[in-house]
């Protein structure tokens, strides 16, 4: 399972205008409307990693950051973070899960 391209790696918000990084690593410079992380600035200039920023965001109450964009209807930061964690875990699992076979039984 792949993490959708336009998903914020910090908070899991999946409606970014463009992928946080292009395929050669260039940052989008976009500010995530959900958590406020600016790709290419918060990390590359201020030296704050995604993990550190996420911790701060969670500690700060996971407030919606964007003023120009409203939070989607029914937006839930916990659900969003849970989905991101699940996708990240699945990405780390290498190979396919074992399948039951009649021969083995």
């Amino acid at each position: 399972m792949k993490i959708p391209l336009n998903t914020c790696p910090v908070c899991g918000f999946d409606q970014l205008d463009e992928p946080p990084r292009n395929r050669t690593g260039g940052a989008s410079m976009e500010i995530c409307s959900c958590c406020g992380f600016q790709f290419g600035v918060t990390d590359d200039d201020q030296g704050v990693s995604c993990d550190d920023y996420r911790e701060r965001w969670i500690a700060g109450g996971m407030a919606w950051s964007g003023k120009g964009k409203k939070a989607p209807k029914g937006w839930n930061p916990q659900t969003q973070l849970g989905a991101l964690a699940r996708l990240a875990t699945l990405k780390r699992v290498k190979g396919r899960p074992p399948r039951f076979s009649m021969q083995l039984l």
């Binding site: 205008d17 463009e18 292009n22 395929r23 050669t24 690593g25 260039g26 989008s28 410079m29 976009e30 500010i31 409307s33 406020g36 600016q38 290419g40 600035v41 590359d44 200039d45 201020q46 030296g47 950051s65 964007g66 003023k67 120009g68 964009k69």
Partner: protein, 250 residues
């Protein structure tokens, strides 16, 4: 005897008829132009009577306006609704032939109060010609924000975060400053890097340490002053010159 006379008559008739058909209309003298602020009269003469056609436009390669008149050897065309202080290109002739081409400039100052939509859109990417009393492109008024900022719904967030770097008074002021950096970069050949992967152009002013990123259409993505001294060196993309920019007007 009779046949000989008929043959010579036929030869004379054919030579006159074919000669008349193949005679090329020629211009007598040069076209005369009387240009006013919003109109112009163009006069020209031909050696024989022929149709009247004048094509004109602001671009020599695209004379998109046409005026046609009566068959005559003294041709006169009156053009109205022209912009003042503007150079027009024209060609005169008939429906079949183009006899001459030239330019004329209407009198009066250029009317900048109501620029055309095309001019306004091109103005996003093109610095307006410098007036003599203003020194730098920073003095040029920027087009409306919606034409210069990539995603207007994100502007407030960028302004809140980086506006103080440039003492911007409002989001629109901040967007205008970002646009002006691009104009200055093109005029003064500031360092620029183009990321071919997504067309992002990054511009850096080493003196003010201002950095901006623009999308492939030349609209601003962000504008800020990086804290890190090596930030510009670490940015992706190949160095480019103003002439290499893809969104330059063609």
């Amino acid at each position: 005897m009779f046949m000989k006379g008929l043959k010579s008559l036929l030869i004379v008739f054919l030579s006159v008829f074919v000669g008349a058909l193949t005679h090329a209309v020629e211009l007598v003298g040069q076209p005369q132009v009387k240009a006013e602020a919003n109109s112009a009269t163009i006069l020209w003469k031909t050696d024989v009577a022929c149709g009247t056609r004048l094509s004109y436009g602001r671009n020599a390669a695209q004379l998109d306006q046409k005026v046609e008149g009566a068959v005559s050897s003294a041709h006169e065309v009156f053009l109205s609704g022209l912009a003042s202080g503007t150079t027009y290109h024209y060609s005169v002739g008939s429906a079949r032939t183009k006899l001459a081409a030239g330019t004329f400039t209407t009198s009066g100052a250029v009317n900048t109060s109501q620029p055309s939509i095309v001019r306004r859109v091109l103005g996003v990417f093109t610095p307006t010609p410098k007036p003599p009393d203003t020194g730098s492109p920073a003095d040029i008024a920027a087009p409306p924000t919606r034409q210069t900022w990539g995603n207007v719904s994100t502007l407030q967030d960028h302004f809140d975060r980086h506006g103080r770097d440039f003492s911007s008074k409002s989001p629109d002021d901040y967007a205008a400053q970002a646009w002006q950096l691009l104009q200055r970069a093109r005029a003064e050949s500031l360092p620029m890097k183009l990321d071919d992967t997504d067309g992002t152009l990054r511009v850096f002013d080493p003196q003010t340490r201002a950095l901006a990123a623009y999308n492939s259409a030349g609209r601003t993505k962000t504008f800020f002053k990086p804290e890190s001294s090596s930030y510009w060196q670490r940015q992706p993309g190949r160095p480019v010159k103003p002439a290499d920019l893809r969104f330059s007007p063609r």
